[in-house]
């Protein structure tokens, strides 16, 4: 597909109809996976309305906001809070926010501006950075980049707070160009050294950035061909003016929301990069174009990403309409390699195939079992597949299989996987259960196992 055609809007047709697979695909990318009600509504509404709903989110939920704000209070989440508590707070937002797309974007920016509590050591600052990312998640990237430069967590993470006149620290200048705005190959070491001088004199006072002119190098600097007595915001502006900047950000958005299978050519992304600059770096505009495009609903994007641990876990819990505690989830996510607010390095999580190896795959399966079995004390019966079937008035093994496959895979799976589920449903009836188990115990156990087996189908690992 040529670039000008690829980014044209998708229109359902007899050959390429709007179906459950596309609804599920959209919900996995624009959120963390669908519930059954969302799938059904999405199918009925068609792409236009469904995309619009995902982009704008559901109406604000006062209870959700009240709980989230209560938990974010200094008395509830003090500066010394540990990483698991902090991650659990965000996971609770991800699970219950009526605007999951915005959380997804905040998570994208968290990986882009990867900052870790391990070095910052102040949960309040990390929380402040989250608020910044969430506020600007769908908005103007230029404002976000400017604001993140003087964000206290970032200032500690990349040592801006220790950068003094005569002793500039190059960390922020380097990462601003390499990871945050331009990418390797679009700047020189001299640019970094000069830019670092502009970031001197910034400290934190009373929890916010403070500019100390005495510690700032006010001399002339030449950065990316522009000379002047630059301060921090000037370097950010200069980076944003580079043609490489929108291309770099659009490339990262493509990998996160379209495909991580094969990197696209610069020419292929050029229409998106031009759009990004034209619309004033408005991230929502670019993402909306992506979600409405033919390319997004083509095989080139469908299941071309591996779910991150957060996507994997939240997708299960949302799908099962569970109300589990996020503290044990955050703990489990750490074992899977993605503890929120604690990325492994300034480059963030590698993502893609790096998420999966023999060990993490086993952990994912064990976690799926723990969540669905109702026998694990961490989750109890708060995420019970058998109760969900009853809620949706599904009875019998065939209906159970159909329900779980629709919910989690939109019935798009290899025939042999489907047969394995059916075989289990039949063979489990021959199993000998302990005498004290009732018929209801046995039936519910079988349904929970069917849910678990659905989650172990390889296609469920794909977003």
């Amino acid at each position: 597909m040529k670039p000008d055609q690829a980014w044209q809007p998708y229109t359902p047709s007899a050959e390429n109809p709007w179906d459950l697979a596309k609804v599920g695909h959209l919900y996995r990318r624009a959120g963390f996976g669908p519930t059954m009600a969302e799938l059904e509504r999405g199918l009925a509404d068609g792409p236009e309305k469904t995309i619009q709903r995902l982009l704008t989110g559901q109406p604000a939920d006062p209870d959700f906001e009240a709980a989230s704000e209560f938990m974010a209070d200094e008395r509830s989440l003090p500066a010394g809070s540990d990483a698991t508590q902090l991650a659990a707070w965000w996971l609770a937002r991800i699970l219950h926010n009526p605007h999951p797309f915005r959380e997804k974007l905040a998570l994208f920016w968290h990986n882009h501006f990867a900052t870790s509590l391990a070095k910052v050591r102040n949960a309040r600052f990390m929380l402040g950075q989250y608020r910044l990312l969430y506020e600007h998640a769908l908005g103007d990237f230029r404002q976000l980049l400017k604001a993140i430069t003087t964000d206290p967590a970032m200032m500690i993470w990349l040592d801006t707070v220790t950068s003094r006149k005569g002793q500039p620290n190059e960390n922020y200048a380097r990462e601003l160009m390499e990871l945050f705005s331009l990418g390797i190959g679009h700047y020189t070491e001299t640019d970094i050294r000069e830019a670092a001088r502009a970031f001197t004199g910034y400290t934190i006072r009373d929890g916010v950035a403070h500019f100390d002119p005495k510690q700032h190098d006010a001399g002339e600097k030449t950065v990316l061909g522009q000379t002047g007595r630059w301060k921090a915001e000037d370097i950010v502006r200069i980076c944003l003016e580079q043609p490489a900047c929108p291309r770099f950000i659009v490339g990262k958005l493509y990998r996160a929301f379209v495909s991580e299978a094969e990197p696209p050519t610069p020419e292929f992304l050029e229409p998106l990069a031009q759009l990004y600059r034209r619309c004033g770096f408005n991230t929502a505009t670019v993402i909306e174009t992506i979600f409405r495009s033919q390319w997004f609903f083509s095989p080139a994007a469908y299941r071309q990403r591996i779910k991150s641990p957060v996507e994997f876990v939240v997708g299960i819990v949302r799908g099962l309409e569970g109300r589990v505690g996020t503290l044990p989830l955050a703990d489990a996510l750490a074992a899977l390699g993605q503890l929120l607010f604690s990325p492994p390095s300034v480059k963030g999580w590698d993502g893609g195939p790096a998420w999966l190896n023999a060990q993490t795959l086993l952990y994912r399966q064990n976690l799926a079992l723990a969540i669905t079995s109702t026998e694990d004390s961490r989750f109890g019966r708060r995420c019970d597949p058998a109760a969900l079937l009853q809620k949706h008035l599904r009875n019998g093994d065939a209906e159970a299989i159909d329900f779980f496959l629709t919910l989690f895979l939109q019935n798009d799976l290899p025939a042999e996987s489907l047969q394995k589920l059916r075989d289990y449903a039949v063979s489990s009836r021959q199993h000998r259960f302990p005498k004290y188990w009732t018929e209801s115990d046995i039936r519910e156990h079988r349904w929970r196992t069917l849910a678990y087996l659905t989650l172990t189908i390889p296609e469920f690992q794909l977003a």
Binding site: T374, W437, T438
Partner: protein, 589 residues
Amino acid sequence: MRRWLRLGILLTATSLIVAAGDATAADSADLLAMIPAPDSAAALLIVVEKPRSVLETTQAVAAYQSALQSLPAVREALDATPVRRLKRLLRFFESELQAEWPVLVDKVAGGGLALLLAVGPNPPPSLLIIHGTDEACVRNFQQRALLILDEESTRQGGPSLTRQQHLAVEVASLGNDFHSSRVGRTLLISNQRSFLNQAISHLQTADRKQSLAGRSGPAEARTLLGGNPLAWLWFDFARIKQEKPVQDFFANSRKDLFQTLVAGATIDALRRAEYIAASLDAIPGGYSAKLQLPVRRADLAEGLTLHVPSADKPGSLPLLLPKQVIYSQSFHLDLGDLWRKRETIINPQQRRQIEEGAKQVTRVLPNTSVAELLEHSGPYHRFVLAHRVEKLYSREPGQPLPAGAYVMSGCGEKFGKIADAGLRAAALLAGLPYGLTMHEEQYDGTTIVSYRFSESKPIPDDPEQLRFNAAPCFAMVADSLIVASHPGLLKDLIGELRSPRDQQSPAVWRNRLDAAGVAASVRSYPQQTITTTILSDGVSLSEARRRVDALVEWIQTLGHFEIQSDHEPETFKLQFRWISSPAAAKVAP
């Protein structure tokens, strides 16, 4: 592995529930005589002489009943799938054996139960003995229990039950790690077939000399513990002490000043003990547990008497119990004695560091020295944490902390003068970067010196404004120095020192945690508890508030928990005691 662990838990839980009877309280000696002594390994023995009493006592505890009634989290836990399954299993046994569980308990385990765990590699053998009173019922119970285990194992894809004979006694095995048998009205369960065979042979020959009853340790432990405990244990420490890492620990701990100061006498008691004995008892309103070591006070190692006073002096002074106390500690530690005997107690390297540190500190002390301060200090120390409602500043701390105080006894009038001068000098130096201002006031005939932080001066190292929790203060009452973080607490303690609510005790180390103080603290600052409830239970804010309110109400009924240690003439004793609040009884049915 996980599967076998679950099976084990299921079996143990079933055994404990069914084995909780007290129709005829067994003589411990009879139970010990049934257990073959392990060949060479050290061993841990746990005996429940009256199993049914354990459950009945638990059910009778008011706090347990009120938890079931008032705590949603507990109700939710009891509604969990494994617990439901366990309840169903119990009903199954009641139905199959045609008796309510208390009666079943009497029949299956009225003679008591004992668990022997050898300590060692590969894995060591273990043996559970459940001694019943009704052979027919024991037989029926065993048959059904084995059937359930077999079905559960098969369901999980595990091995099936196999049956073999040993000395004409049937041995049922599930895989390599579970073997069970019945001899008369006694059930035997072991993780090793050979050890189970040994136990069967032993039961048939009934040779006391080859049993644990023939070894001195367990019987001695039982005598030492005395009384009528719900459960007791004996741990063969003599053999453990032969292990190189344990020997190294004892050798190194004596050289380490920190370990010597914190637990020197306790570690020394452990070093001398041949075995460890412990028991759990029911007492009115709660439970008491004690751990005893058969060691003499007179044999305490040279230099460690800093933890233990002479017999004519109290072990510790009364615990401080001001209003809304959370935690109180009182202990004996003779720092003057430590300073005088530092050549023998402290290793040379640490001694040099301490002497150098003392020199540095002495430079800022007016007309006195660290040595003089220590030599005039007394051996009794007390520490207390309490919840306070009064605000100290118009600015609130980011994180509220309870008020704390430390009380040190002194020897003579000079101690007060030295301490007063030293503290004023220290406050002057330490206060400069924090903008401390000093105030003096008279209270009940006592001079209180207090310091306040500036509310306008920013302190970069205190992002959570923790300093606004404290207005450091001190006072002398008779020969005791009080240093507190809150003048209100200090004033309460002045009254406490003059009219103590507690008594002095022979115990040398005492701690008390008061649930009412904890409840008051959580009630005043519930945000973190509510947040943790939302994040761990996945409930809404309003539900979390309800849960925390219920939790606070329940904590209020928990009374207090105490730990104390005492070097008695013939034994070292570590005692734990929990006594629920009298209010708890009103909540319970």
